[in-house]
Symmetry: C2
Subunit: 344 residues, 2 copies
DNA sequence: GTGAAAGCGCTAACAA
DNA sequence: TTGTTAGCGCTTTCAC
């Protein structure tokens, strides 16, 4: 008999463990550990033999065993409502940037804009993450109930809620800038509002802020001057603008929930024979790179989305450092900034 | 000595364990486990008491301990070269879709287009993932050396390589469609090529395929008719087109590495006083949604990027099921398809 | 330079 | 219904 059988092949379904490597190399588990992790205290020849054994078995250390032992690995879960929404890549890049700096991992999930899915997705993420970041439409109490003990940082969260971390966007200031631009710089007086879906938390806040500012200028505002976009997309914006234009054919300006809706509005206006911005001024919100590419390019209230992501991770760090910390009265705030382009 | 230490409070920095909960509730760890995991075999009153104890301690089960014990959790790492590249969201959505179906987690990383970072990022991901998916510019041997034993599925990988899983895109067919459209449908005869960065694996393949087809039509092709985009972005496309236009002022068509470069080309052409498509036809590659929004809208060779992502996860599943499986001669292929719009 | 033993936090199997 | 035991795969003592 030969000793060929010492060359145990990796059986499909069962991964080699440190014990397998130790046995094959004829050393203790400890020695294998030293070789794999490149510690000192090991002979060069031994190390080589161990590494060779590991290679031949296709050995990889179990991340669970290592994580359990070392307790130094942090993973944060990022829940998006729709990965393909161009709003998110910059947020994600901010999250990834800070996570990388800290040596943290990031797991992502997509709720596909569905409330039920959202909770499920959060729960799935929570199984793999120490804390969560997300733009959630579920009420705070529901989150607290369904995800007990899980630190959550909410993006774009209206103020006044407790029990979770959050990062705020100053929509009031943003919408004031948008409305002021249309009214003061462009002299528009009949301004419509294209609101987001009723579900979205920040939708109402954006609309209310816009309406308030319109009224402060002595201009009409309210349901008559508002249309809901069914989705926060170009198509949603097209449909919403068509609806609004029917009710208000004399409209000379539109404030939009976000850039995609604004681009849809511009397209629909052109289709209806209106010139932008000669007849109607359009202004978006978010400041997507996309806005520079359409014709005319889109004026928008720019949000530093990468900063939003970075701040969110920092909030997670705060929560993780002291889970018993009280909810902070003033969450970090991102301040929007008007960027004027061709559509107004 | 007192026994006060039995009442271990949740010290910031130390998370409560199942033992802490058991102790506080006055039951065994096993009973706590039953309560937490909603198994039967536990009295209602006991369960309530345990859950209350868990709540008050802010207890969450350790994912490492659970993962170690249950051995049923799969995580795949997705490495992107730049999260903010609009090519990726659809790929990611495909990956997430299949991952969700299988109950797998997805961790993401961003190499920021840097080769050094790429390897580091892959290694970081590998610490948390059972397998990796990525569009990698590192040579295969380097991947195998730096990530021993890690199953990797490469996106957009040229054929003929071994040792990793891969998903292919049929660039030859795609570029043939692009060139044929310009030549046969639009009658263009002086066609430039805007290539991607030299680093990018698929860049050369796309260019070669385009040049080959151009020559098959008896048209000139080669270095004289090619410009490199420094980055796969709109700005990169603008610069590259400017360069190409200087060398070939009589150019009447451009085939581009991707849609962003194509959009940059269109902008630069307009700036140079050329009409698109009257004077010059432009065609992109990838079929980003973005292409519909620019004016004129962009003709492009559409790739089903979500499918690419889905196939990649399926390849991962194959690799994971049998790590010893031989490299498959014919990797799954995504077939590009021409979508004609206004720019040609 | 190397090995033996203990234990990280959890759950399956079995015992009571 | 509840508790005890064992062990998942790894690394950190502490011996040798």
């Amino acid at each position: 008999m030969t000793v060929q059988h010492l060359e145990r092949k990796p059986v499909p379904g069962r991964r080699a463990t440190i014990g397998d490597v130790a046995e094959l190399a004829g050393v203790s588990k400890q020695t294998v550990s030293r070789a794999i992790n490149d510690k000192g205290e090991i002979g060069a020849a031994t190390k080589e033999r161990v590494l060779e054994a590991a290679r031949s078995l296709g050995y990889r250390p179990s991340r669970f065993a290592r994580g359990l032992r070392l307790q130094d690995s942090v993973t944060v879960g990022l829940l998006l409502s729709d990965v393909t929404n161009p709003y998110y890549p910059e947020v994600a890049s901010g999250v990834l940037e800070v996570a990388e700096d800290r040596g943290w991992h990031v797991v992502v999930g997509d709720s596909r804009g569905d409330r039920r899915r959202e909770l499920e997705a959060l729960q799935v993420l929570a199984r793999q993450a120490d804390a969560l970041i997300g733009q959630c439409s579920s009420p705070d109490e529901e989150l607290a109930r369904e995800l007990p003990g899980v630190p959550i940082v909410l993006l774009d969260h209206p103020p006044g809620h407790r029990g979770h971390g959050s990062v705020r966007i100053d929509f009031t200031s943003g919408m004031r800038q948008a409305v002021d631009h249309l009214v003061l710089d462009r002299g528009r007086r009949r301004i419509g509002v294209l609101e987001g879906t009723p579900r979205a938390n920040p939708a109402t806040e954006r609309r209310l802020s816009a309406e308030q500012r319109l009224r402060e200028h002595g201009l009409p505002a309210g349901a008559d001057w508002t249309a809901h976009a069914v989705s926060h997309t170009v198509a949603g914006g097209e449909a919403a603008l068509a609806e609004l234009l029917t009710a208000r054919p004399d409209m000379d300006g539109v404030v939009c929930y976000n850039d995609q809706i604004a681009i849809g509005a511009m397209r629909e206006l052109k289709r209806a024979g209106r010139r932008v911005p000669a007849d109607v001024s359009v202004i978006g919100f978010d400041g997507l790179p996309l806005g520079e590419l359409v014709t005319p390019s889109l004026t928008s209230v720019h949000i530093d989305k990468a900063r939003l992501g970075r701040l969110a991770v920092q909030e997670v760090a705060r929560l993780l450092a002291d889970p018993t910390a009280p909810p902070v009265p003033d969450a970090p705030v991102v301040h929007p900034e008007l960027v004027v382009r061709g559509s107004t």
